[in-house]
Amino acid sequence: MSTALNPCNHLLDYKKRYGLKGFNLIQKWVKTSPYGKTHMGKSKSEIPRCSFCCGYEGRLYICLICSSMSCSLPSGSNHALLHMQTQIGHEIAVDVQRSELYCFACDDQVYDPDFDRAVMCQQIVGNLDGVRSGNNKRKRLGFEGGLNLNLNLDLKNLKRVVGVSGGEWDHGRRISKSCFPVGLRGLNNLGNTCFMNSVLQALLHAPPVRNYFLSGRHDRDLCRKTSSDRFCLSCDIDVIFSAVFSGDRAPYSPAQFLYSWWRLSENLACYEQQDAHEFFMSVLDRIHEKEGKSKGTNKDTGDCHCVVHRAFSGLLRSDVTCTTCGFTSTTYDPCVDISLDFNTNVDHIAPNKPQKSTDLGITTLASCLDLFTRPEKLGSDQKLYCENCRERHESVKQMSIKKLPLVLCLHVKRFEHSLVRKASRKIDRHLQFPFSLDMTPYVSSSIVRKRFGNRIFAFDGDESELSTNFEVFAVITHSGMLESGHYMTYLRLNEQWYKCDDAWITEVDDEVVRASQIYLVFYVQKPNSGHKSGEDGGCHLRSSPSGDSFVSIAGCC
């Protein structure tokens, strides 16, 4: 299963000779704690002692062959080592406090998938971990056959959702300067409408949305005939797509779109700068309202098939764990974007040691994502009812991403609204963001696995076939003050960045984008190509090329 893991000869030897007997034997000694750690408890009443010296100090190990316990003190006597030397072949033991395998011949901690599985099964059953959404999932845990079956079912649905949109990835081809990418056209500012222009530019170049409209999937004539509503944002966007991709380079005025949007969003309609993120959410809402009904939803997964959901919809997982018994209750919520708080933790700066990013005053997108998925202890005034304990206890909440969208929109919460001071302020702090983003550490399988100590174990729903690699294609920045700022979009087409400042389209270098104050960042999923050598850790397998055909937009005018 794991390719990066090379067991030592002693471990291989042991498994050849004894198979899984030893693992199954010690399984009954695995004791769990609410925080996901396990230890070996041979007996409930006795203090574990070394069979050589009867001492109980230092690290204790249980021999996998004869179950005798020996100690290893940091300074001096190592009875565990002695045990190995006196009993030939007794090289593998288990660290009592940590439930980890140790090879005394190699003098190193070693790892084995079967051992981890044995510990995990005990841990999961022991903790009565109930994943609410699953039915009989607990029975399938530990049986890879069952897990694979389940995985395949999910994949079929996912492929259906993903496959329809076709290729989303533009080949990174450098085009000659004389020929600019299609779809690059300025948008006139109609009077403080840069918030709208910036979002439109991003939508125009979101691959699934672009592909959908450019292949004529929204039939304006049909829509006009069949719909009772006078206003349809999809129709208006379709018009904008036609205009922007027509080859005409004079700036376009999205007046009809503004009018339609105002008619459909009464409470937001006014001649004043709007928040680009709010606008974006509102547009997605309006399009979904209209289309969701006609396109319908997938009966099995409940996924909506409208263009916005197929492009932006993901699934967030929320785990609430009781700190008393470890019982975890899980809920899933769909999302079309992720709003991130600034991670402003700054560690104490030591003069000589190498400094982490936050020490230098640089906040990174990764740290904001870390903050988003960090276990958060809920306040004592927020005690939640634990079904296992049947009482209210303090709990810990942790978010993770169960299903990544095709287009990942990350919203940086720069505008703080203080209810106390009845004022809003803008956080001007610079946020570093990568051009290539690996979402692996933030997906549910990684987060849940980490909670169980990173055991080698095939968790239900391990999305090993879906890519977690994303590439940026649009960045919306906000410059200036809260009330009187200006929005702009940087678009990345064929590895060249373009600045879209209302009517003005100019070429800029990477560094201009890196130094800008990002507000909304748009990443698109990169297809799996299975070429990431050495990155195949034990739990994250990359499958063979998904075989999606790529739709590359030719760079000719």
Binding site: N188, R249, L268, A269, Y271, S446, Y498, I505, R514, G538
Partner: protein, 137 residues
């Protein structure tokens, strides 16, 4: 004969020290074990890439902030297509609400009045205050 106080205190101190040492060793070992597992299983993040990104970001900010850098903050002369644009968009089209010819750059304020959503009549609008919108009409 009771032991002198100093000896008792020193025993206690030694004992406390000893326990603390054990606890500390255990915690250090915990962290080492976790990190060892992460490293061995290849679960650690690619620190080289991350450092590279940080370096690029810091360099970019330094270069942009440099006042002698003209590219970053210069006013636009021509766009990539060789066009220039006025501060207020000059294109003229008909308002779809009232039919009048409007200059693009002034379309939004016109539309607001045209649709009867004047700023004077408007109460501070939030997403939830649909009541305000009703009041406007």
């Amino acid at each position: 004969m009771s032991a002198p106080d100093e000896i008792i205190t020193s025993d206690h101190t030694q004992l406390a020290s000893h326990f603390f040492g054990e606890l500390l060793d255990s915690v250090i070992m915990d962290v080492a074990s976790e990190c060892h597992r992460i490293a061995r299983l290849g679960l650690d993040r690619n620190l080289d890439d991350e450092e590279e990104e940080l370096r690029l970001s810091a360099e970019a900010r330094a270069r942009i902030a440099d006042p002698s850098n003209s590219e970053a903050n210069s006013k636009y002369v021509v766009d990539i297509f060789g066009q220039t644009h006025p501060a207020v968009a000059a294109e003229i089209f008909d308002c779809m609400n009232c039919g009048r010819s409007i200059v693009a750059g002034r379309f939004a304020p016109h539309l607001e009045k045209c649709m009867g959503k004047g700023r004077k009549a408007r109460v501070k609008a939030t997403r939830s205050s649909t009541a305000a919108a009703a009041h406007n009409r």
